[in-house]
């Protein structure tokens, strides 16, 4: 079972939690996380190309810290200097990510996934399996639990961390039974007025024989229709990749938020490149053209909010990323829970109804 698979990024996150001084704490925990990362994988282990200078600096810090411990020599001044350099380098790098670099961060092998966030921010999680029709698709995780004290139904794509888990959940590409499982659990939630939280993280629905035979298009379509009218609050958050209809299939709600370095688009950059340039080599150009970053989608009015990630991305500090998500959900549920079902679904319709309306005109 996928649940037993250890999820390293989350479990090895530093134990202490940001409380009083977010600024100072954030820097320290970033470094500690960075140090564990460097220790675990080595600087090149999981590094994206543009992360390499960062990891090199981290390795230098780590070596100095170790040297200091071993030899009892005081390198604190040097370490502090290097840490300052690291912070500015992280800031400089992550404030200027290209669309394609953002896609790479969203796909980072150490980026927290749905089950990591379940470990980090959901208490009393009870996973609920199966669509009662065909099977249990592990590409979508569903279950009840508490977030910031609120009882919720959680629905999220899960890609898997190691090879075995990735295969078990099809790299987060759901079959129709995944979407039908999600709907069954969401209908259960609506019956008992449990708010629904969805975590979107998929390259798309699974394009395969069984998926088509069992009607993946119908499964997604029905979810879009039913989610529009479910009489309970629905919050959708793109935590990593938002690939087309497969993402939207659990993405209709009262609020749509995106993690800062997530992407969301009608097609993957590789797919777009394949269509326009007959190959994936122009994926960086396609990523730019598709306007798929959280900043673009906020200015287009497609999403309501960007959830800021810790310095250097969620994979550097899953704990801080989870805290940011938790704060967003808590605040938003406080807004939505007092609303009547009618008010909720009317407002939800108005929100959907407006999408794209200002992008057309009478010739």
């Amino acid at each position: 079972m996928a649940k037993q698979v250890k999820r390293k990024a989350a479990t090895q996150a530093p134990a202490h939690k940001t409380v009083a001084e977010p600024q100072a704490q954030a820097v320290e925990s970033t470094l500690l996380e960075a140090e564990t990362l460097a220790l675990r994988a080595g600087p090149a282990g999981m590094a994206l190309e543009f992360e390499k200078p960062i990891l090199k600096l981290e390795r230098q810090i780590l070596d100095l810290v170790q040297l200091q411990e071993q030899k009892g020599v005081d390198y604190n001044t040097e370490i502090r200097q290097l840490r300052d350099n690291l912070t500015s380098l992280l800031k400089k790098t992550y404030q200027n990510l290209s669309a394609w670099e953002t896609v790479q961060v969203a796909r980072h092998p150490a980026r927290p996934q749905t089950r990591d966030y379940i470990d980090l921010l959901v208490t009393d999680f009870d996973e609920l399996h199966g669509d009662r029709k065909f099977g249990d698709d592990l590409a979508i995780v569903t279950g009840t639990g508490r977030i910031a004290g609120h009882k919720v139904m959680l629905v999220g794509h899960h890609k898997g961390r190691d090879t075995r888990e990735k295969i078990a959940c099809n790299f987060g590409c759901a079959h129709p039974e995944g979407y039908r499982k999600a709907l069954a659990k969401m209908q259960f939630a609506a019956k008992f007025k449990l708010p629904i939280v969805t975590f979107i993280d998929t390259q798309g629905a699974y394009p395969g024989l069984g998926s088509e035979e069992r009607g993946v298009a119908e499964a997604i379509a029905v979810n879009l229709r039913e989610m529009a009218l479910l009489p309970t609050p629905i919050i959708c958050i793109v935590i990593g990749e938002g690939g087309s209809g497969g993402a939207l299939g659990i993405g209709v709600g009262d609020r749509l938020a995106m993690m800062e370095f997530a992407w969301y688009s009608v097609i993957s950059p590789e797919g777009c490149s394949g269509i326009l340039w007959k190959g994936s080599q122009n994926a960086p150009d396609a990523a730019e053209a598709l306007k798929l970053t959280s900043r673009h989608l906020k200015s287009l009015g497609v999403i309501d909010e960007i959830i800021r990630e810790p310095l250097g991305g969620a994979h550097r500090n899953p704990r801080a990323a989870a805290d940011a998500i938790e704060r967003y959900i808590d605040r938003t549920l406080r807004e939505l829970k007092p609303l009547s079902a009618e008010k909720l679904t009317d407002t939800r319709y108005d929100r959907l109804r407006k999408l794209g309306a200002d992008t057309i005109e009478v010739a």
């Binding site: 009607g215 379509a221 087309s244 009608v266 269509i275 326009l276």
Partner: protein, 287 residues
């Protein structure tokens, strides 16, 4: 039959390739044409008088939206609505070529504003709201204009208590409007949710091809779903699937008959029977 990759359509999945047969390959100008179904040379005039089907093998040739409306509705009954809605190029899409120039050129060439024609019409005397997708305009892809026109058709049918008929012919969501296109799937489906809740009758007609985001939204949400014979209907394009699973796809995969067998289409309706089939369904539902 020449296979080309659609320049415009984003289906779901890891790759967006979508195989289509271009109209001009199917139907070259001239007195005679080669039928894509049986390979025989047939008289264009015979084909056209036969509702654009092959007199020999019943191959259904693809129709433009205007041709479809002409053969489906009572003579002179169609009143077009929202005819001049055009896209404002929401994300200033430019890769290889600029979307703005691309649609300007297609508007010029086709005389259409976008990939869907909608309005009020009568079929065998029954009034209804009709929306027909147009494959000639960027592979019938759904961007904000198509999404908006479908939604307005649904809302108009709801307000006037009319049955709704949508004829799909589309490669899916329109890549050049990215997430705005994607959101049209949610918008049209939400409008249908209200329409269904209010007891409206929605007849969804699937024609060759109906794929991607079109299938995964309104097209699969009919109270009844009719399909033309042999129409390709699916979510991911066959090439995408073949590239992913690396096996040969079975004969007839993603054709209307395959979907009928798998339980996702109610009836295969030949083109010559579509008018009476829709009229009968409307009568049956007391609409």
């Amino acid at each position: 039959m020449a296979e080309i990759t659609s320049p415009t359509v984003a289906t779901s999945g890891l790759q967006g390739n979508f195989v289509q047969t271009r109209k001009h390959v199917d139907v070259p100008e001239g007195l005679w044409l080669k039928c894509a179904g049986c390979g025989e040379m047939i008289f264009r005039k015979d084909m056209e008088e036969n509702l654009h089907t092959c007199p020999g093998c019943d191959h259904h040739f693809r129709l433009s939206a205007r041709q479809r409306i002409k053969i489906l509705t009572d003579d002179g009954s169609f009143e077009e609505t929202n005819a001049s809605l055009v896209s404002r190029d929401p994300i200033s899409f430019s890769a290889k070529k600029a979307y703005k120039q691309q649609i300007a050129a297609i508007r010029q060439a086709t005389g259409s504003c976008d990939a869907l024609v909608s309005g009020k019409a009568f079929i065998k005397g029954r009034p209804l709201m009709l929306a027909v997708m147009d494959f000639d305009f960027l592979a019938g892809s759904m961007g904000a204009v198509v999404g908006e026109k479908i939604t307005r058709s649904i809302e108009k049918a709801l307000a006037d208590k009319l049955p709704l008929v949508i004829v799909s012919c589309s490669g899916g969501a329109r890549m050049q409007e990215s997430t705005i296109s994607l959101m049209q799937m949610a918008k049209t489906s939400a409008a249908l949710a209200r329409f269904h809740a209010a007891g409206g009758l929605f007849v969804s007609v699937l024609t060759d091809p109906t794929t991607g985001g079109t299938t995964a939204s309104f097209a699969m949400l009919g109270d009844v779903i009719f399909a033309e014979p042999k129409a390709m209907i699916g979510f991911a394009g066959p090439r995408t699937i073949a590239n992913t699973i690396r096996v040969e796809l079975p004969e007839g995969f993603q054709r209307a008959e395959f979907l009928l067998q798998k339980g996702f289409v109610d009836r295969i309706v030949p083109r010559r029977e579509l008018r009476s089939q829709i009229a009968r369904t409307i009568d049956y539902c007391g609409k």
